[in-house]
């Protein structure tokens, strides 16, 4: 997704945890916090505010930036869809396009107008919160997205609910039994799970649990009239797939971050004090290792919301990803734009949340050197 760009790199993980094995993505971006970006009102007030309330300053700054980012994203999506061969009229009609029908659709939707005018028209509506109607189905975009986004979040929520505690727990377990059998088993299994493509994991689960054993619900299609229990049963397999896919990444990051901290002097002190291994990990190592872990969790959560289109297709689950792909296929610009903005907003929000949580967990990050 286009939202990845400048916000993906955790800007705040400059603490002692940085620079260990597997931490390549937490490249420090020094000064991101203190130096106000150009364009934001500077001066002594802002500087003092930044120093006194770093958290509030950060949030305000990030919110300002995210508006700009969303704007850039919408511009990029618009340009990207424009650059694809064929416009809505020709791709929607496909082989059955006649010049007359193409002409009718173009005129109807104003596709004959210049690029900038169309973009500004759309932007005018979007600023007011009106995403317009889908060109293809003539339904309200907001209404349809509401439905699909709800489904996506439902799936992501349960996948996160299972995978995040599991990953962190397994990571700690691996550290405790470092280089012994449990650690090795956890490592091998999680590596195997991450190496298999997600559709393959999905197919394997379907084969065993739906086709051969017949215990799981398949397809995982959810719809309005479904009860909560039915929904849970429907999403069991996709959730299991997603958990297997994201688990290894988070688990290994947890393990690496804690191991990195474990080799520092204060942990050695703790060991010399005679504290139990688990207490050292939980009390002394974990808070210092939490920043990179939170960042990788945030990335995986973002993936669970915006990147699961393959899983949606395999399990016939009506989520946002499939909705956006369908729209891109026929160049249904209002839908593509709205989906793109929502995805970008998710990335921005989750990254911001990750930074804030990292600061809360480790007060030293509030006053960067």
């Amino acid at each position: 997704m286009a939202g990845g760009g400048p916000i993906t790199g955790p800007a705040l993980s400059t603490g002692p945890a940085a620079g260990g094995e597997g931490l390549s993505q937490s490249a420090p971006v020094p000064g991101a916090l203190v130096t106000p970006p150009t364009g934001v009102v500077t001066g002594t007030f802002w500087r003092r505010f930044t120093l006194r309330r770093p958290l509030a300053a950060l949030i305000i700054q990030r919110l300002g930036l995210s508006v700009g980012l969303l704007f850039a994203v919408s511009l990029m999506i618009f340009g990207g869809v424009e650059a694809l061969p064929g416009d809505f009229a020709t791709t929607y009609l496909g082989q059955s396009a006649t010049p007359q029908a193409v002409e009718n659709i173009r005129k109807d939707l104003g596709l004959d107008k210049p690029l900038t005018e169309r973009y500004l028209n759309w932007l005018g509506g979007a600023v007011k919160g009106d995403f317009g109607t889908s060109w293809a189905s003539k339904n309200s975009v907001s209404e349809q997205i509401g439905n699909r986004l709800g489904n996506s979040l439902f799936l992501a929520f349960f996948a996160a609910l299972v995978s995040v505690p599991l990953a962190v727990a397994l990571g700690m377990l691996a550290v405790q039994y470092r280089n012994r059998l449990p650690d090795k088993i956890i490592n091998v299994v999680s590596l195997a799970a991450i190496s298999l493509p997600e559709f393959f994991v999905g197919y394997l689960l379907i084969l065993f649990f739906a086709v051969q054993l017949g215990v799981a619900t398949f397809p995982a299609t959810v719809y309005d009239s479904m009860g909560f229990g039915e929904r849970l049963s429907a999403i069991a397999l996709p959730v299991a797939t997603l958990v297997l896919v994201v688990l290894a990444h988070m688990m290994r990051m947890t393990r690496a971050a804690i191991l990195n901290v474990m080799s520092s002097a204060y942990v050695e002190t703790a060991e010399l004090k005679g504290l139990s291994a688990f207490r050292i990990i939980a009390k002394h190592a974990a808070p210092n290792a939490v920043a990179p872990v939170i960042n990788v969790i945030a990335l995986n959560l973002a993936y669970l919301v915006v990147g699961v289109v393959v899983v949606e297709v395999v399990f016939v689950y009506p989520g946002m990803g499939q909705y956006m792909v369908d729209a891109v296929t026929v160049r249904d610009m209002p839908v593509v734009q709205a989906c793109g903005l929502i995805f970008a907003a998710f990335y921005i929000f989750l990254n911001m949340a990750a930074d804030i949580l990292a600061i809360l967990a480790n007060p030293r990050l509030r006053h960067p050197r």
Partner: protein, 529 residues
Amino acid sequence: MSDYKNYLANQVKIGKMNRREFMGRAMAAGIALSSASTLFAASAAAQEPKRGGHLKLGLEGGSATDALDPAKALSQVLFCVGRNWGDLLVESHPLTGAAVPALAESWEPSPDAAVWTFKIRKGVQFHDGKELTIEDVVKTLQRHTDEKSESGALGVMKSIKTIENKGGDLVLTLTEGNADLPLLLSDYHLIIQPGGGYDNPNAAIGTGPYKLTSFEAGVRATFEKNPNDWNPNRGYVDSVEIINMNDATARIAALSSGQVHYINRVDPKTVALLKRAPTVEILSTAGRGHYVFIMHCDKAPFDNNDLRMALKYAMDRENMVQTILGGYGKVGNDFPINSTYALFPEGIEQRVYDPDKAAFHYKKSGHSGPVLLRTSDVAFPGAVDAAVLYQASAKKAGIEIEVKREPGDGYWSNVWNVQPFSTSYWGGRPTQDQMYSTAYLSTADWNDTKFKRPDFDKILLEARSELDETKRKEMYRTMAMMVRDEGGLILPMFNDFVNASTKQVKGYVHDIGNDMSNGYVATRVWLDA
């Protein structure tokens, strides 16, 4: 014809076809009609439809951008959805392709076949309780005729000059005589809607056997039985659910685990595996759809008929059917008509792979250097593989073909009908006249071989208003020969429609009209507990 008979017999032998299927297809092909009908009647009597149950279909071909308006229906899912809630004036016979009454009870042409009078069925109710009137019919047809409409039937409706209500009957006046007019009205877009659908084209209120109860584009559609259906011989189940499944493996998994009763678009490559499942039945139906390699007759180097002939002889058709269709199809003969069409011209010699003849014509054409063929997997399933196979078979004749894989996005607007040599597909049409008029008439928008022959056009127009069938058949033979020997069409194969169901599903009709029992699958089958 004997080829086809042998094919049918063979299919029975190798177990690809049960007796009922065999009879249906034998009848469609006009083989031993009397004995076929006796047996057919016997087998029909043995199969008394059961009513009730919840039928679930897992179908490919829907998307979140689907709208219910029948004028704009393009996808496979919408095609099937429309069949459930709506009715046409005229339907086509599943086995012979002839026009049969639906909402029009009967019709009468003028002697020159230019004015047609249709009697509309009485006492038919829409799902909202309103009675079907002649006004609804007139307005529906008008909506699809409107130049500003985006109706997929616009091309079909162009030849209708006026649509009138004369004393309660529908009178259509055409710009020129057309003996096939009733079949034109069997176009699946032309669903009769109350008030013509002007008020709310997406309402999905019709006269069909099922009422739409919910619809979520690209996800799911549900139906319940219409208790006031005018036609008692359809709509056997209580409720229908169509689930949109665009992933081939998901469809197969859903079918083999019994979560759905019927799936469409079974990949020929995996058919053999699916067949092993004890609960599954493969439903393969001969159709009119065909996969084509098209050359523009008016662009160099394809403006040379010797080069075109060389390329036609360089095609290994048998191999294509086996490899690309997994045997689920028939070889083509370089004209777009097969024996499922009425008035099929029999006895035209089958063109076979002949590297010597190909080399001979290639030399005579004087062409040298590679011939550029553009393809993409959106052209038809396996199109890129087919192009590579073709490249290999042509190489043996000394013809070098360069295969260029084009992006699937924009293929239909940038490559097909634009570039001089490409791969494509055709879905077939209800009549020979329509097939030729759509793609082989000089002035047709979709004349994708740029076959521009005034003599051909003349015969086509004459045949259209010819009511004498013998003469008409002779004309169609002449036209077929012209396209086969002088056109830009290489037609290696007619593809079967390959679908599958659980063994619970009974009464499936192999309709030659189109895929999924011509879209009527849910209205025709019943569930055997």
